[in-house]
């Protein structure tokens, strides 16, 4: 990449200016106020859209004899794999200045952003090839910027290490969040378990009650059976008594029939005696028979009395049995009611127990979940520790790459120092470079202006060499603080850098530089 042409119209002090640049070293010389810095600023304005000197847009419009110009522009023509033509136009209307940008014929809506220009081009990162060292006395703190480090990490490692490190933090955050999420779930489950443990006590008391009721039911059943037995045995006794009575009545009837017969025999006997027709044998037989009848008659009397007694007993027994049966039936009914109530209660308790047992199953499940979550938390904790360790290693790796980068810068800077072939006290060390980049003042603060300038420019050139993609180097008066000897050496060194940079544009107020350059531009005061 190289600048081919620069055209200015009504830009600062220039009314109309057209300059051509060549490959190699382009030296712009002129007295103070001739516009050397303005030219570099114009190049910077064309490329970056920023006014490097920090002036207002309006202040860059030229003031002529007729007052301030209304329109001005900078046009830069760049030769590259894809040629670029950038125009930055400033227009003043109603005392307000506005800016317009056109790149390769395309209007760029947001004029101040390089990326906007790159968006309109097929080739990206074109401006990466340009290094604008605008003020060599400035220290290198700008290199401490995050975007510089990102660029550096992209150069040193195949990844965007800042992004990687940011994402290690994001991963830690992700793991912390996950762990906390799991802890919350775990706490919730522990609460559930507490509640279920109280249910466990309930189950235990219900089971006791269940057992008690079961025993009671057994007892009621026994009592009921006993009462039934008693009721049944009462019936048997009554039947037995009733059977005996029947038997006795039968016997009584038989005896009565027999007695009847005997009475008839007596009458017959009486008749025979009266008729005197009864033999002595028959008479004795009849007497015997009459005795028997008398005996039977006595027995009938006794049996009759017994029968009456039995009848009375039976009546009493029946009454008693009826009363006892009534009592027993009442008791049995009571037992039945008691049994029904107890069974219902038992069923309720059984139901409660089955529900409670479900709670216990639930408790076991929750316990399993708790175990799993605790394991998960342990895993996340281990992940967190590992992730932290890996972050440490990645940071070391990044620092290692940066550190090796600075070692190489140190070597390159000191090689450039050797190329100068001058005897200087200056020694460029890695620590000095890093300290300078970090903005820490070290021994370099004791450098003379010339030494500090030399230190800064050598380190910057070394960085550009190491990064390797810069082809256009723009230097603003790099030799401002150099004496003649150092100037000569520096210019000679610049000549040797033509392999690294295809074009170098530098300014100087010294006209008398004995220096072979490809293009020398002299500005009028």
């Amino acid at each position: 990449m190289r600048i081919n042409k620069l055209e200015l119209k009504n830009f600062r002090k220039f009314k109309n200016l057209r300059l051509e640049f060549k490959p190699g070293i382009n030296l712009i010389t002129g007295l103070n106020g001739s516009g050397k810095t303005t030219l570099l600023n114009a190049i910077g304005f064309a490329i970056y859209g920023d006014l490097v000197n920090g002036t207002n847009l309006r202040d860059n419009l030229r003031y002529g004899q007729k007052g301030q110009s209304k329109v001005g522009f900078v046009n830069l023509d760049i030769i590259n794999s894809v040629n670029l033509n950038i125009t930055r136009k400033i227009r003043l209307k109603d005392k307000i200045a506005s800016q317009w940008t056109v790149c390769n014929g395309n209007f760029i809506p947001s004029h101040s952003d390089i990326s906007e220009i790159e968006q309109s081009l097929p080739q990206k990162d074109v401006f990466f090839e340009i290094a604008y060292i605008d003020n060599i006395r400035q220290d290198l703190t700008d290199l401490n910027k995050k975007d510089f480090r990102q660029t550096l990490s992209r150069k040193m490692l195949p990844w965007d290490m800042q992004k990687v490190l940011d994402n290690t933090k994001a991963l830690s955050l992700y793991l912390d969040t996950k762990e906390n999420e799991l802890k919350r779930i775990l706490d919730g489950k522990k609460e559930e378990i507490k509640e279920l443990i109280s249910k466990e006590d309930l189950v235990s008391s219900l089971k006791d009650e269940h057992k008690e009721l079961s025993n009671k039911i057994e007892e009621i059943q026994k009592t009921k059976e006993e009462l039934e037995k008693r009721r049944i045995s009462g019936e048997k006794y009554e039947k037995y008594a009733s059977g005996s009575l029947e038997q006795m009545e039968k016997t009584l009837k038989q005896i009565q029939r027999l007695v009847g017969k005997l009475k008839i025999g007596q009458y017959i006997h009486k008749d025979f005696i009266e008729e005197k027709i009864v033999s002595s044998t028959l008479n004795s037989y009849l007497n015997e028979y009459i005795e028997k009848v008398s005996f039977l008659y006595t027995q009938i009397q006794e049996i009759g009395a017994l029968l009456r007694k039995i009848t009375q007993i039976q009546t009493d027994l029946q009454n008693e049995r009826q009363k006892a049966e009534k009592d027993l039936i009442m008791k049995i009914n009571d037992q039945n009611r008691n049994l029904a109530y107890t069974v219902a209660k038992l069923e309720t308790i059984s139901h409660q127990i089955s529900i409670s047992e479900q709670y216990l199953e639930e408790k076991q499940k929750i316990n399993r979940v708790i175990m799993e979550r605790q394991n998960d938390i342990e895993k996340y904790r281990t992940d967190i520790v590992i992730a932290e360790r890996l972050r440490g290693l990645i940071t070391s790796m990044w620092n290692g790459s940066i550190s090796s980068f600075f070692r190489r810068i140190e070597n390159r800077s000191n090689e450039l120092l050797k190329l100068l072939k001058i005897d200087v006290c200056l020694q460029i060390t890695e620590e000095e470079i890093v300290a300078n980049i970090e903005g820490i003042k070290t021994d370099s603060a004791l450098f003379s202006a010339g030494e500090e300038g030399l230190f800064n420019i050598l380190v910057r050139i070394a960085i550009l060499q190491e990064l390797g993609q810069t082809s256009l180097l723009i230097l603003e008066d790099p030799i401002a603080h150099f004496d003649q000897v150092r100037t000569k050496s520096f210019l000679s060194m610049l000549n040797s850098l033509k392999n690294d940079f295809s074009q170098i544009i530098m300014t100087s107020h010294s006209f008398d530089l004995e220096f072979d350059v490809e293009n020398r531009i002299v500005l009028d005061p």
């Binding site: 990844w159 992730a387 890996l390 440490g392």
Partner: protein, 63 residues
């Protein structure tokens, strides 16, 4: 620096940080770490965590 150089750099860091790691472990961990960095570079945070989990037994040596 390409990925091979990155690996070399990582191995040298591991040697410095954990001197008693065997050569085999060093290379294995470096491979995992390179994949891990690539995933983080692509913003795949959950996959990076997955990678840690899958290789926890090897990475626990670092802790």
């Amino acid at each position: 620096m390409n990925k091979v150089d990155a690996k070399r750099l990582l191995i040298s860091i591991l040697e410095k940080e954990i001197p008693d790691l065997t050569k085999e472990h060093k290379h294995k961990i470096t491979e995992i770490l390179l994949d891990y960095i690539s995933l983080l570079n692509d913003g795949k945070i959950e996959k990076a965590n997955e990678l840690i989990r899958q290789n926890r037994d090897k990475l626990e040596m670092l802790v």
